[in-house]
């Protein structure tokens, strides 16, 4: 659920309010309050309706009923489900349950009218003497086998359409059972299947306890060196704006969080046999404490101990290019790592998936160490030999700052600045190293075009070897009506558009640089960033229809050809 401003409905909530008062006043500055309010007709009036309908002296009808002009009805008249059209004369009270009462021209009703769950539509010249009460909200009633009415208990709104997830509550414990994919497809696991229960316990008005147990079934076989089953168990206690959590896991972790999101990378692997991420096996445990300082700001302190091991690419099936070979998965510096991190998240975006205004800032500092690292051999220009006889330790800093702005009602400008890399201690292990190039950060250049691989170093896995990367992106978006498709007319006369009706026209530019830090040849001093004339620049244009976007991008600082790419989500 997207983060929304706190709004309060002032009118139309009061049960006694007439439903026909159809102006709802919203005061956005009223205090925030979480609530779910189920509004319906007053119970006393519903009871009155049921009593009226079930009275043996009442004439009960169902469906569409008409009392024609120049006819006359005397007595108590009630209708359930349908339309009661009155053009003649009625002497007596009328009740309608979940139907519409039409007083047609010439109608003459002398008696009280009660309509619940429908409208009273009065034609010109219709006359009525008596009390009139109309509630648009449905009457919570159901018909019995005897033709009477009874109160119908309201169903609980459980996600009955989500076949792979079901939830139920037992006392204070809410249980969710899940069977789903792991959200990606890759050359190590194939399609991971995630299953397991989640328990939530409300321990107080401001506190809760959660336990999330997941099993992970890997479908690609065990040739990768990865077990067929993984797991993740996470417990969390929340109190107000604070929380503490612990976790044990055996899972597949990715080196970098780009150049594609997990879902896009999964599609790319499944369809085209192109897996744009690298992975390692991570098993361990950890904990974190966090504080939600405000609605937008979250701080987190974490510590974990991982055993990190190399895994090999397998040969899962892909729809196209299935006969091609998958890119190898790089070797990593195996070992046990203890990592302490502090993270800040600031999110003032108006929407989570398609934001148009606001900030998204994520910053993280990590200190990691290991006493048993087994390093792979890297060229000395990339990394000097790792220390012997003391702990191996390094520091990492990451930040990602995004700004979304609406310049006019139809024009938006978005910008992003991202940096990731080594800031202190020994040099990074392979699995923490970084790169640039590819669909996300520098789409005008090939995947890992800038991975800091020295000349003569030929590794088919194309590992990321840079110590640091910095990139900046800016884009201008304008909404267009596309009508890219065709219209059909269904049997009931309604028109359906098949295709994409609208999209954002996107003009963008990206700049970035990845480098090795140091004082040697081809390296940049550790206290400097490269001069801007060394940065890579690209320009591009595209159409983003929300769930799919097509872009053309070209690197302008090299003789790069134009790249065509398809994204299944916003660029950033």
């Amino acid at each position: 659920m997207r983060p929304l401003a706190a709004l309060v409905l002032l009118l139309a909530l009061a049960p006694g309010l007439r439903a026909q008062d159809s102006v709802i006043v919203i005061d956005p500055d009223a205090p925030l309050a979480d609530s779910l309010e189920r509004v319906g007709p007053p119970p006393a009036v519903v009871a009155e309706l049921i009593a009226f309908y079930n009275d043996s002296g009442t004439t009960r009808v169902q469906g569409d009923v008409t009392i024609p002009s120049e006819s006359r009805f005397e007595g108590r008249l009630a209708l359930h489900r349908g339309n009661l059209r009155i053009a003649g004369q009625v002497e007596g009270p009328i009740a309608v349950a979940n139907g519409t009462l039409h007083l047609l021209p010439g109608a003459d009703v002398r008696g009280d009218i009660l309509v619940i769950g429908g409208r009273l539509i009065r034609g010109a010249g219709a006359r009525h003497q008596g009390r009139e009460r109309v509630f648009w909200d449905a009457a919570p009633v159901a018909g019995t086998e005897e033709g009477l009415l009874e109160i119908r208990e309201r169903r609980r709104p459980i996600g009955d359409l989500a076949a792979a997830r079901t939830s139920f509550r037992t006392g204070k414990v809410r249980t969710t059972l899940l069977l789903a994919t792991g959200g990606t497809y890759n050359r190590i696991e194939g399609l991971p299947i995630v299953f397991g229960p989640k328990f939530d316990l409300r321990t107080g008005q401001r506190s809760s306890l959660g336990l999330d147990l997941d099993g992970i079934l890997r479908t690609a076989g065990s040739e990768s060196g990865l077990a067929d089953f993984g797991y993740s168990a996470r417990g969390e206690f929340r109190y107000g704006r604070f929380g503490v959590a612990g976790r044990v896991y055996s899972e597949l972790a990715a080196f970098e969080d780009h150049p594609l999101s997990p879902s896009e990378s999964g599609w790319s692997a499944f369809l085209l046999q192109r897996d744009y991420r690298d992975y390692y096996d991570r098993r361990g445990y950890g904990g974190e404490v966090w504080a939600q300082v405000s609605r937008a700001l979250r701080l987190e302190l974490s510590r974990r101990r991982d055993e990190e091991r190399t895994v090999r690419a397998t040969d899962p099936w892909s729809l196209f290019r299935n006969s091609d070979r998958w890119r190898r998965n790089p070797l990593i510096d195996d070992g046990h790592y203890i990592t302490t991190g502090i993270q800040l998240d600031l999110d003032t975006r108006n929407e989570r998936y398609l934001p148009s205004t606001g900030w998204l800032i994520r910053a993280r500092f990590e200190h990691s160490s290991s006493g048993d690292v087994a390093p792979v051999i890297l060229p000395s220009v990339v990394r000097p030999d790792l220390p012997v006889g003391r702990r191996y330790a390094f520091d990492r800093l990451f930040f990602d700052v995004r700004r979304y702005s609406r310049i006019t009602p139809s024009l938006r400008v978005n910008a992003r600045l991202r940096a990731d890399g080594w800031v202190g201690g020994d040099r990074f292990p392979v699995q923490r190293r970084v790169s640039l190039g590819g669909p996300d950060l520098l789409p005008g250049y090939d995947f890992r075009a800038f991975n800091c691989s020295p000349s003569g170093f030929d590794d088919p896995s194309m590992p990321a070897l840079c110590d640091r990367v910095v990139s900046a992106q800016v884009e201008v978006r304008s909404r267009l009506g596309l009508n890219l498709g065709f219209r059909t007319r269904s049997a009931n006369g309604s028109r359906r558009f098949i295709g994409i009706e609208e999209a954002d026209l996107v003009l963008f530019s990206d700049v970035g640089k990845g480098w090795l830090a140091g004082s040697g040849p081809g390296q940049v001093p550790v206290n400097r960033i490269p001069s801007f004339d060394e940065w890579k620049v690209d320009l591009g244009i595209g159409l983003d229809a929300g769930e799919i976007g097509a872009y053309l991008a070209k690197g302008v600082s090299e003789g790069e050809p134009v790249k065509f790419l398809v994204r299944l989500q916003r660029r950033f």
């Binding site: 709802i24 009931n492 006369g493 359906r496």
Partner: protein, 216 residues
């Protein structure tokens, strides 16, 4: 390929948004100002959509079992002659309608931030009238200047995943984080949303704005 995309862009430019939204479909979005009764000329916007169910495709969508989501947004713009206008504030809310075939009732959820109101309607007449509720948003600007309001209504279907998230929200997981928060960003989400989009299920975006008014 560049030519192809340029052609697409030109096709798009030939269909202005407002013309598509207001004239090409029978659904209407209106935004007007409250009466000029405040001492300093402050006025609030009143937003109303009309005839949603008069466009048969939305009723057909509902009866096909797919929920329909109305996402309203109102923006407060400060008009600055000779310079680009300034967005000073925006607010949004959602109305989700779904048909419950077993009960033959329509459930209407109105979602304002973390506050949700659920109403049920047994007849199309009542639902149609409820969907035509007008919303008066008390966001009148305080600073002196010229202002106008821009309103947007996006009507779309909810995927199963969206609906599931909504149900979990209603079940009390509004602030739920934890290990499964990322599952929303899964293959299923992308695939479902994309397929829903391409399958011809309708979506609609309407825009309207008020005339300018002055705050003294």
């Amino acid at each position: 390929m560049a030519g192809f995309l340029l052609a697409l862009a030109l096709i798009g430019l030939s269909f202005p948004r407002d013309a598509l939204g207001q004239a090409g479909n029978s659904v209407r979005l209106e935004v007007r100002l409250t009466p000029d009764s405040a001492a300093r000329g402050q006025r609030a916007p009143v937003i109303r959509s009309d005839n949603l169910l008069g466009d048969g495709r939305w009723l057909s969508t509902l009866r096909s079992g797919l929920p329909v989501r109305l996402h309203y947004r109102v923006e407060v713009w400060r008009s600055r002659d000779g310079w680009i206008d300034q967005l000073t504030r925006q607010l949004y809310w959602d109305v989700v309608v779904r048909h419950e075939p077993l009960l033959d009732e329509y459930t209407m959820l109105t979602i304002f931030g973390s506050r949700v109101q659920e109403r049920r309607y047994a007849t199309l007449d009542a639902l149609t009238a409820a969907l035509a509720f007008a919303y008066q948003i008390n966001v009148s600007p305080d600073e002196a200047g010229n202002y106008y309001y821009a309103a947007t209504l996006e009507v779309s279907t909810l995927s199963d995943t969206d609906l599931d998230e909504l149900d979990r929200f209603l079940e009390g997981e509004a602030n739920g984080g934890g290990g499964r928060a990322g599952l929303g960003e899964t293959l299923e989400r992308g695939a479902t949303r994309f397929l829903l989009r391409l399958a011809g299920l309708p979506s609609l975006r309407l825009e309207a704005r008020t005339r300018r008014f002055a705050v003294r």
